[in-house]
């Protein structure tokens, strides 16, 4: 047994890893230069460089309303699912009631059930209720998808918090309400924020459910991209994709910052 990275096993492993990274990143990174292309069509490599597609993205109302809509839906989804998900996590970790494991399975089921099935189910329900193409309807659907992430992230915090801290707070004169706001919540806050950011991302780039539940009057950015790609292959899509990627990466970096700031007991 040798530890040298030149050993055959090791080389195979490195090759496999490199291949995986290649397939994961290259298609994504190819998009970036295509957005700065001078060509009228989506090609790689770009024949020359230009910012015209970014200009178009920022001026074309179809794209700008898409941005606004997506941002709005993702933000409201993050707020709604963080509140509901945190309360659900409290119930799952602290509560004792019959049917708890069933409730837990139902809350987490959107992680497992194929999104297309959820989308079709919601679509048939929304059509009957006549709420397709509404902000509230899409937020409700996205919240159902995002809540599991919040529940998982907040539950972890609740399970690891030292219960003596809450007892100490009560002993020192804090009732259940103030114990929660002054002690429990600040300590699990990194978990709550992480959950909120993941909820935002869940909605931000969600396309399957959104395709079913949006209409021409109310479209989110990923749906707009999908529509555009099907009709014209214009490099604006690449510019938009790059911007979406930028937002996603920023939010993920925020998650790391939040995690690092977590108080260590």
């Amino acid at each position: 047994m040798t530890d040298s990275w030149r050993s055959p096993h090791r080389l195979l492993l490195v090759a496999l890893g490199a291949l995986t990274v290649f397939f994961l990143t290259v298609p994504t990174l190819l998009i970036v230069p295509m957005g700065f292309s001078s060509s009228e069509i989506l090609t790689f490599p770009p024949p020359g460089w230009s910012l015209q597609w970014y200009e178009k993205m920022l001026t074309d109302p179809q794209w700008t309303t898409g941005f606004v809509n997506s941002f709005l839906v993702a933000t409201v989804t993050a707020i709604v699912s963080t509140i509901l998900g945190s309360l659900a996590a409290l119930g799952m970790v602290r509560g004792r009631f019959p049917g708890k494991s069933l409730a837990n399975a139902l809350i987490l089921s959107p992680l497992i059930v194929p999104v297309i099935i959820i989308a079709i189910g919601m679509f048939s329900l929304y059509v009957r209720w006549k709420i397709t193409g509404s902000l509230a309807g899409l937020v409700a659907a996205h919240s159902a998808l995002a809540i599991p992430f919040v529940v998982v992230s907040v539950s972890t915090g609740l399970r690891t918090i030292d219960r003596n801290l809450e007892m100490a707070a009560q002993n020192l004169g804090a009732g259940p309400g103030r114990t929660f706001t002054r002690i429990t919540l600040p300590i699990i806050l990194p978990g709550v924020l992480t959950g909120a950011l993941f909820a935002f991302l869940t909605s931000w780039d969600e396309v399957v459910v959104a395709i079913f539940l949006t209409t021409a009057k109310f479209r989110t950015l990923p749906v707009e991209m999908w529509e555009q790609v099907r009709q014209v292959v214009d490099p604006t899509v690449a510019a938009v994709a790059t911007t979406v990627l930028g937002v996603t990466t920023t939010v993920l970096l925020l998650v790391f910052v939040v995690r690092r700031q977590a108080p260590t007991t």
Binding site: N164, A169, Q170, N171, A174, I183, I187, T265
Partner: protein, 397 residues
Amino acid sequence: MTRADDSTSIDGLGSPTGRLGSSTGRLGSSTGERPTLVLRGLTKQFGDFAAVDGVDLEVRRGEFVTLLGPSGSGKTTTLRMIAGFTHQTGGTIEIEGTDMRGVPPYRRDVGMIFQNYALFPHMTAAANVAFPLEMRHVPRSEIKRRVADALALVRLAGYGERYPRQLSGGQQQRVAFARAVVFGPQLLLMDEPLGALDKKLREALQLEIMQMSRQLGATVIYVTHDQEEALTMSDRIAIFSLGKIAQLGSGEDLYNRPASLFVADFIGDSNILRGRFQSNGDAGWLVHGDRRLRVSQAAARRAAIANDADGALVVRPERIRITDPGGHTPSTNAVAATVTEVLFLGPIRKYELTLADGQRAFVRVQAGSTERAWRPDDPVSMTWEVDDGVLVADPGR
């Protein structure tokens, strides 16, 4: 033993109703004064199992009482019931004359120090100490002053802006103490507060906690499984066994006059000589085969065991002298033995003897220049004053 009258440094720690830091002398003549804590028939049943089984205890103001016992003996459960974290299934808890039934922990006004300190990690030391005052809506300026006083009391002035993780174990312990006393609670509960610290620091903090509690005139209920700690710190010790108080008394009481074999075995080292008790009116004998040991009148009366019942004589290792075989007087007991082991421990020498029936006995002797050093296999006689033998009932093995 009176409390230091220098109360300037702790001004403001006592609440307006004058509880902690009141002028009551510690261990003062409290005749007629209402006890701070009264437990009557306190019971906690978990299904069929009684974790705490009819505990009665009265604690005077300013007293330091330790609940001592092996793990699972009910001492921590008792403390949690006093704090209000667990509900009793029977009996009553009274604090300053008020029945605590149905009173939630946050209205009990008792301070508690947890084993792992339970300092709030997201707050500075000063914010931790200020927390109980904020909960009581104390004005901001007064909070500032009382926090500063409390941190000064625990000698952490200038450490207020540090977070718990930036403090050593001993410093965290002292912040926890300051936080538990700053609001002037009527009672201070401590749940193995030194359990997580190393021996040297533990001993230093034992003294500190004693001194600070005394300075405040605090009434303390202290839980530990460390008998040395209990002996060092307490005015009285309640020894817990199987959910009951096996014996309650000062450290000297428990050591010199254990009421049962369990207590004799739990506190300190002891030689236990079993036999059948034969009363001769006042005093008596403990007979085992042809070994007859005198039992003093006082010991026989305290033990109150029937004639012809199984008993055990408890003799502490340092009360025994080793002499040449046969030498004994009317006021001593003597048992023939053989030296089997000699251990030199610096200030003392420890002997292991074997009795005729094969039982082992231990003797501790001050190591000195005039002391005779016995060697293994020496035939000897172990002797002790009749008054140094304590008779207890022998419940059998």
